[in-house]
Point group: C2
């Protein structure tokens, strides 16, 4: 198989990365994808750097066995803690969501102070703070870990009194900082966008990294001459834990019907057997 015909690998700690996968399939409708969700070990955002690196490497090796030409780390915690670790070890390109997220944030914030929310692991890594400073070293940055958002979203509790109370609890102090734009620094959070936007108010633009990540991947493939512009794509799903819920919830994350699909398959990743 020539490299251009190989699929793109995408992994996440669970199913949050489906929000990125959707943008990827829309930006590159002829590309095939292999998605791996580490649902047996989810979440990553409460865990330490050595563990997230180890898991990310195992996930990448699984994708490499499926003959991928490029890997997208569709998880902010893994991008923040393990991107360089993977790039140093793998011979194919590896693209994370931090840089693309910052690109989107800078575009929308027009010089105003900016905010970033994410898991505890992502925020305390300093990855976003460092990436923003590279763009604009004088920019005012406010960050806030929101560790209960992922379990809320995983439970499907994305609106109503409880999510609003929890969003207010995390975001009320950032609201006072008069930021221009807020980056959703976790691939789960777009599912709670309405509640977050409601709590932050109309003056704040809420941004996520899905679209700009897809653009970065497309640009990388173009530059290498690896971008597929014809043919029928396939979409294969793998997960380290398979429950009756995961297919239904994956479709919800993906946002409606899956596109042209040759095969949708869930199985226990072989490093557990």
């Amino acid at each position: 198989m020539s490299i251009i015909d190989k699929p793109i690998g995408v992994f996440d700690s669970g199913i949050g990365g489906m929000t990125v996968l959707k943008a990827l399939t829309e930006a590159m409708p002829n590309e095939s994808f292999v998605y791996f969700g580490d649902s047996a070990r989810v979440p990553y955002g409460t865990k330490s750097a050595p563990v997230v690196k180890q898991f990310s490497l195992q996930n990448s090796l699984f994708l490499l066995k499926h003959n991928v030409k490029l890997i997208v780390v569709a998880c902010n915690s893994a991008s923040a803690l393990a991107l360089q670790f993977l790039q140093e070890r793998l011979s194919i390109p590896v693209i994370g969501v931090i840089e693309p997220g910052v690109k989107a944030l800078m575009k929308e914030s027009a010089g105003d102070p900016v905010g970033v929310i994410g898991t505890r692991a992502t925020i305390s890594s300093g990855a976003y703070q460092n990436a923003i400073k590279k763009y604009d070293e004088n920019r005012k940055i406010f960050v806030q870990p929101c560790p209960l958002f992922v379990p809320l979203i995983e439970e499907g509790m994305t609106n109503g009194e409880i999510p609003i109370k929890i969003a207010e609890y995390y975001l009320n102090s950032m609201k006072l900082e008069r930021i221009g734009a807020l980056l959703l620094g976790c691939t789960h959070y777009p599912l709670m966008r309405e509640v977050i936007a409601q709590v932050m108010g109309e003056a704040v633009t809420v941004v996520d990294s899905a679209g700009t990540t897809a653009e970065s991947v497309k640009e990388e493939l173009k530059q290498r001459g690896w971008l597929k512009s014809q043919g029928f794509p396939s979409l294969d799903f793998y997960a380290s834990d398979v429950s009756s819920e995961i297919e239904r919830r994956s479709r919800a994350f993906f946002g409606g019907e899956l596109p042209v699909v040759k095969k949708v398959e869930f199985e226990v990743a072989d490093f557990w057997v």
Copy 2:
């Protein structure tokens, strides 16, 4: 080393099992313990039976390497899904928290309807419902999974408006059933006992399995002639992920100062290396 001098092994998906460890050390002050918390793969309560069995077996093999004479599964999800699986495979006794929990519940409920709360995995396994029916097949049983309690407790949010709102959300319908006693079917939940008791009201006795599990372990060791009645105990801690938080939080779960400790050690379990 004679078998009587060997330590008791205890594992949990994380640090919730420390509530059981505390009861064990109080009931058997001369016994040594090796505790393993699978903090790299926590939680178990949202995962499927094959995965929880696999993880539980790996944890048990880790404890066996540390020469334990008996294993306590200090996690309700693992007890519900993997106890028999472990008992069939290991040559040493394995004791879970389900049967002891039911024993405590039946003692406190005096014929009244009973309630059990736990993770989604524990409740949907039917393990508690089956164990209660063995005691009293006509007893009315009401169950409720409370999947947000573990993340709340892991975040240290055990009182105030948000935990009360979430407890009301889960428990309001059970409150109408006029149960006599409610079993906390998750080793984390004792940390939220006050909020749960407040929401359920004074007529309901809130019960956990820590004390009766310790009694069951002591009885098993006595019967085998393996109970240690003298000597200085040791207490060794292992975790599959080590963060700056884990030792501090473990001590909070344990409830105050750790007792006579020869060695407290946190290291990455060797099956990750």
